[in-house]
């Protein structure tokens, strides 16, 4: 494989890892800083991707209208897609937060699973919404004409990377503010936080909404990278579980950890492909399962031997005492 090929491979790797890093950052706000056990990431992944797709695609005309059905198609540029994805996800988070945020953490978790499953079922079965199981294809990419198509990925990497760092920077600022300290206090000891007069529910809601908006952006970035999405992309494995492994591996409660974890676990995921490529032909069909088994075992090892992840929780100024 010549240099050009290797480079192209690394670029694809970096794009996916960065997209997943965005998800990790969103999850980190919810889990790392507020202790919300969100196992429904795939739902926001799905909604973000589809929203951006519908906003940036035109309504199908002519013959196409018979094959592709969608609820709307605004044909707006990429930034509107991102914005729309974030807003819709935020709205959905707000709506589901109202009945579920007062629940115990494990009840919240099962509720998030239900939500993700429900959305996936809706997108899969309601053809009028977004073309059902066939999904949407031919999604536009930002600044498409700017570079020759064989170099487009480099441009997209730059876009995704910048967005990732902007999000990182924004979260870092927010966390160091009084708002961030309240979130931390809630995670540590909800009862005390409530007794000191903070509206715990409202803070949790903000955390849920902001985290989900970021996940929506991640979904949009994914859609415009792969240019085609369908409901079976947003499974509990690819859309939720792997992100949890990334955050736990990198260090929950640590934004750099979220990014490092994403790159690390995506690297392990890609690495397992090389391993399974060595398998005999008869086992090749099982390769994705073997790879996911490795990822699952990795999570268990992390939980048992290094639950704080690679970078550990962020030590912050003020009253965080480490022993």
């Amino acid at each position: 494989m010549e240099l050009g090929g290797i480079l192209a491979y690394l670029v694809s790797f970096a794009i996916m890892a960065s997209i997943y890093a965005v998800f990790s950052l969103g999850l980190n706000i919810q889990w790392g800083y507020t202790g919300l056990f969100n196992i429904g990431i795939a739902g926001f992944f799905c909604i973000g991707a589809y929203t951006s797709a519908l906003i940036t695609s035109p309504m199908p005309q002519g013959i196409y209208a018979q094959y592709v059905k969608q609820l709307f198609g605004l044909n707006l540029p990429f930034p509107f897609g991102l914005l729309g994805a974030a807003l819709v996800c935020g709205l959905v988070a707000l709506l589901i937060g109202i009945p579920t945020l007062r629940l115990r953490e494990d009840y919240l978790a099962i509720a998030t699973i239900g939500i993700a499953e429900t959305f996936r079922l809706i997108f899969n079965n309601e053809r009028w919404l977004a073309n059902g199981p066939r999904g949407l294809m031919g999604l536009p990419q930002p600044l498409e004409g700017l570079v020759p198509s064989e170099y487009y990925n480099y441009l997209y990497l730059a876009i995704v990377f910048s967005i990732m760092w902007v999000i990182y920077w924004a979260i870092e600022r927010a966390i160091r503010s009084p708002w961030g300290r309240v979130l931390k206090a809630i995670r540590e000891d909800e009862v005390s936080a409530a007794m000191s007069g903070k509206d715990v529910f409202w803070f949790k809601m903000q955390s849920l909404v902001f985290g989900s908006m970021i996940m929506g952006v991640g979904g949009a970035l994914y859609a415009h990278y792969t240019k085609a999405i369908s409901p079976d992309v947003f499974t509990p494995l690819y859309g939720t579980f792997i992100i949890w492994v990334m955050l736990m591996a990198g260090g929950s409660g640590n934004n750099r950890g979220a990014i490092v974890g994403a790159f690390l676990v995506w690297g392990i995921w890609i690495g397992t492909k090389f391993l399974t490529d060595l398998l005999p032909y008869t086992l090749k069909a099982r390769a994705p399962y073997i790879r996911f088994l490795i990822v699952g075992i990795l999570l268990e090892i992390i939980l048992i031997h290094r639950p704080q992840g690679l970078l550990g929780e962020e030590k912050r100024v003020s009253r965080f005492i480490e022993d």
Partner: protein, 303 residues
Amino acid sequence: MLELFVYGIVLGSIIALGAIGLTLVYGILRFANFAHGDLMTAGAYVALFFVASLFPSLGVPDTRLAPFSFGWRMVAAFPLAMAAVAGVAVLLDRVLYRRLRQRGSSAVMLAMSALGASFIVRMVVLILWGADYRSFYPGVLRPAMKLPLGVKIRPDQVLILGVGAILVILLHLFLHRTKMGKAMRATADNPELARVSGIRTERVITWCWVTGGALAAAAGVLYGIDVQIHPGMGWNFLLPLFAAAILGGIGNVYGALIGGLVIGVLQQLSTAFLLPTYKPAVAFIGMILILLIRPQGIFGPRE
């Protein structure tokens, strides 16, 4: 409509068996076992292994037991599958949950570990058997019997009701007539007082997994007899299982039984106006409603 109700009871019995195990684990171990659905999957596939692989190679005969759809192999495989999954559940506890428990990990960490375990179990099944849908006895005709009021039911389904009832009765006897069963109820009530009374909590926990795992396996096999099995079946049951356990009052075994039947009926009735694939979503909506209206479930909280 009546027929949907009847089938709802059948499905509900399967959900109930799973929910009972789930609620037992919750009452004694105080965490949400996200791997419980996949224990059902494991039970179904272990039974498949016996019926379709091991027994044929051992030359075990398979005379069909009319009017049911299965033969002697299944009769033998059923308890074996229950035992195997009981073992799997205990193994998961020893390797994963116990270590977290001894460290004083929170319920959320345990639930996360269970989530990981659920994927591991599912991947193992996928690796060994692939993603296809399978039947225990492919190609066997399953005619329905006609009952009064125009309700059709298959003999298999009557058996599911019967087996479910027997298992519940056995569980009741275990929990109320044996020393370990009473110790399990005591530990669920008040784990510290149980220790103070000399009850060895780790043994109670082991028995809890044996019971929960065996019941989950039974549910999985029964479902496979009725419908088909596929590696994702357990995950699809997670929402109904939790909905049933929460509806009945988490920790309450009899609540889970009733809850299972209710959720089963609700799911089946929903197919009158929704696609069947929406059944998990129906269970989920039901669960949200309970949590909003009466979060402690029908039978209230465990003291």
